[in-house]
Symmetry: C2
Subunit: 547 residues, 2 copies
């Protein structure tokens, strides 16, 4: 194990306190040896054996959104064999203590980082992300979030010392004196239920938070995005075994499409922690039914932009156009509803009417995506056919201000690539409201005409309270409006970005500095990563005896 892991851990712990920019994981493709395609091709059409106990069958059926089957077959587990084997691995991992666990986790992350291009290919061909984004978001940024979870886990577990002496004076009598040991103990097996669009980025925080706090982790990937997490499980098992621990501390639960094993696993008594990213319906089901477990969910939300005014109209439009286009809006953080006062807004380029703002935003998106090759590199491919269905439904909600365009991918002609659709609607139209007040995941946004900025803030509040939001973006030159947006986000517990006009986008957060979600509105009951994401994963047992 590299001796520098301890230094990395210390810097991570320091950075979650300073919230400055930092990452040990380079994000530029040039930092990595190759583009991972050879390693990826070598994985396709193979049996991905992990040596797990209780493997009763082999399953697989992933198809790349770029138009070919992956052909990888994964172990299908008998939980009655696999879960007891995982449980048996717990005591030695618990005994290792917080520091050793953190360092092993850092070693897993370092090995994953060394294979970033291979992970990037796996992410690309399961999610549809373009390669540069799959490399960054699926590689270093996901690794950062995993490391951040380890740093929080280490900090929370070591706030109580391993040993303490306690001496209480008793006047003239001898003092009372005890020695005390404090041991962080894990809760049990942790289940990570992965999502289709960001398997590593959304999966790593829960995986590493649970593992670093001593819990064995069973990873149940989305049946259409298994490979990235299967690779992570393989690396984790190898690292654990080399470090002298039972590899069954991390295992994979692949399933047949439609088998629905998450529902079964989530109710197993051995499962005491669940991390889930996905639909609101199943997230709500987990919260209501997996009562034996601590359940951390990220569900659907309706992200809102309030446009009041700007002193950089072009910058605002360019920034927003990029946010709407990146990965075809298939991010849980992509803005959906852009609220614009009916009477228009003040800008550095003069007053702009509602219609002008909508038209200029449409033009900014069109301009950004005019070149097919560049567009494909930004948009990636649609993750599945259900996205097209949602787009067709959204078109009927109002006036199409920017039609979606099919883009031919230069290298992958079978990929379904679409530019964003912008639908102009009026907040007062109840039919339109039905559409824009529900999450429409994919390259769809609504330019919502509202009576005023005050009405926009009121609608923002209602949207967050009723539907949840992972991101809120405001554009204003008025400190009063900035204050009102801030108050709304404090009251409704949503993360706010103001006046982004440059190279920082509302849909991106930086580990160690930004919180992803708040855990305080219906979009998610957890934030990545804060103390509340960590502390319920372990308990502290004290052993005291006379000194």
């Amino acid at each position: 194990m590299a001796p520098s892991h301890r230094a990395t851990l210390d810097t991570a712990v320091e950075t979650i306190r300073s919230r400055a920019h930092w990452s040990p994981h380079p994000e530029h493709p040039r930092a990595y040896q190759d583009d991972g395609s050879a390693a990826f091709r070598a994985l396709c059409d193979t049996t991905f054996d992990l040596g797990q106990p209780g493997t009763d069958d082999w399953v697989g059926g992933e198809t790349s959104p770029y138009g070919f089957p992956l052909g990888v077959r994964y172990p299908h587990a008998d939980p009655d064999v696999l879960l007891p084997a995982m449980r048996a691995a717990l005591p030695a991992w618990r005994s290792a203590g917080p520091e050793r666990r953190a360092l092993v986790c850092l070693d897993i992350l370092a090995r994953i980082n060394a294979r970033t291009p291979e992970f990037a290919q796996a992410v690309m061909h399961t999610t549809g992300q373009a390669y540069p984004m799959a490399l960054q978001a699926g590689g270093p940024h996901a690794q950062d979030r995993g490391l951040e979870a380890v740093a929080y886990a280490f900090a929370e577990q070591t706030r109580t010392p391993e040993r303490a002496s306690w001496t209480k004076p008793q006047g003239k009598r001898d003092p009372l004196a005890l020695v005390k040991e404090f041991v962080p103990v894990p809760r049990g097996i942790a289940l990570v239920i992965g999502c289709n669009t960001f398997p590593t980025w959304n999966g790593f925080p829960g995986l590493f938070a649970s593992l670093a706090t001593g819990n064995p982790v069973l990873v149940k990937p989305h049946p259409r995005a298994v490979l990235p997490l299967a690779l992570a499980v393989r690396v984790a098992r190898e690292t654990l075994a080399e470090a002298g621990f039972d590899p069954n501390l991390v295992a994979l639960a692949a399933e047949r499409d439609g088998e629905g094993i998450a529902r079964t696993l989530a109710l197993r008594d051995e499962v005491r922690i669940i991390d889930y990213t996905g639909s609101t319906a199943f997230g709500d089901w987990l919260e209501a039914n997996a009562r034996q477990a601590q359940v951390f969910t990220e569900k659907a939300g309706v992200n809102t932009v309030v446009i009041d005014s700007t002193d950089d109209y072009r910058g605002m439009l360019a920034n927003l156009a990029f946010s709407l286009s990146l990965y075809s809006g298939q991010m849980c953080t992509t803005p959906q509803n852009v609220l614009i006062p009916r009477g228009g807004i003040a800008t550095d380029a003069g007053p702009k009417s509602y219609d002008e703002v909508v038209a200029d935003l449409a033009a900014a998106v069109s301009g950004l995506l005019a070149d097919d090759a560049r567009a494909a590199g930004l948009l990636g491919a649609l993750v599945g056919p259900q996205v097209l269905d949602r787009m067709a439904g959204a078109e009927r909600a109002g006036r199409v201000a920017l039609a979606s365009r099919a883009v031919r991918h230069p290298e992958h002609p079978d990929a379904t690539v679409r530019t964003p659709l912008i639908v102009a609607v009026d907040a007062a139209d109840p039919d339109a409201e039905q559409a824009f007040m529900a999450e429409c995941f994919g390259p769809v946004s609504f330019a919502v005409a509202v009576d005023s900025t005050d009405a926009a803030v009121a609608l923002l509040r209602r949207t967050v309270r009723e539907r949840g939001a992972l991101t809120v973006l405001g554009h204003t030159t008025s400190e009063r409006v900035a204050r009102e947006l801030t108050d709304a986000c404090l009251d409704e517990c949503a993360q706010l970005s103001l006046n982004l006009t440059g190279g920082v986008y509302v849909n991106q957060t930086a580990a160690f500095s930004d919180f992803h979600g708040s855990g305080g509105n219906p979009a998610a009951n957890a934030a990545l990563v804060d103390g509340a994401f960590i502390t319920p994963r372990f308990r502290t047992v004290e052993i005291r005896r006379p000194a």
Copy 2:
């Protein structure tokens, strides 16, 4: 506000890291001006007006276990008026920030501390605790636990800075630069559901944890133990108002006996945090039904002692006799099942058979309580008639090894005072098992004959897993057995004390150093006080904008 509150806060934060002995609250009665009886008498037979909005009636009906009605009438609240008033107080309290909130909480605690004798009388005459214990446990020790919660809340809220600068290099281009604000935001109204036996000790941690993290707190006391918490609410409201905050940040919800308003309040949408101490049935109901809230519960458990061997037989018996007698065993931490190998144990006084150990323990209890005045001062009064019913039931479970004796209280002849009952049972007897595997709250313990120390450890494991435990005590001279007891407590997540033979008792924990409960077995889903008791009470909202 005393300038030293900040120093006290700093020492508290430091002590929860060192786990050393410390308290700013003197525990000796001589530290306080009088015995509080004049203040207490002045409260009796009065209307306890708190100036709360929505007071629609006056209710009361407390009777002292020492034999007289208190005659205090408390405000009965209309939640449709009171809860919105409390909610309206939230934004200004949120804006105050973690440090100011902590210092106001410390001021509340300091004012409560100054009135410790009055609280002691109120605790004594609602719980039945003897005055010296009511003073210590209901006064300084409860205040310590409240302060500990404030210290944890302050530490958790300030681990993220108020502001941060974030600058990310972009090669030859200008760096990306953001300024970020981080604001801890409360979840909503917190409901504290008090218990009959330790209204302040069990009530203060949740009250102060929620208040210090920005949440308004509604205190719903047990209908037979209102006065101690009503006094705390009054002090809190006065302190808040003097500090320029809305007194409705803390309010009382008294009820008619049998009204059951906890059930109604717990399901109100405004209520987002619940702290509860009481029966397993209602705790389980809260966890299952109050889904809009974070629910912290302390419920019933079966505390176990394993006697393997000792090198201080007399010390062990004396220590255990005290533990069984203190407040007539009406503590959630009192040992219930004393597991003793059928073949006897090794001691410094030679080998002792099971029967000898039981007889010697009975004699130790009898000796300790031989003098009625001393006995009354240790036992206090039974909190209610249901305790007598349970004692009668327990007698039928086995052979009575020590009969309970009625003690005449020298000053309060109407008080029901009883010495502990010890029932000898065999672990192999299924009828006895039904009795000893359920919590029998009160002065009842079972001396359980088991096959061996190994069998005792196995029964300990099963008891904690199935019924929960707040405390486990082991006596052994063998490091192997100590290791097995430790492993059992780590596996089942219970707090372990070993070989207590002096002035530290298993039923007592010290704030800032000992954890009360673990939160990881069926006796409680929360520990007092750890990070997990604090972090779910607030979220962090980030506001970021270009630098």
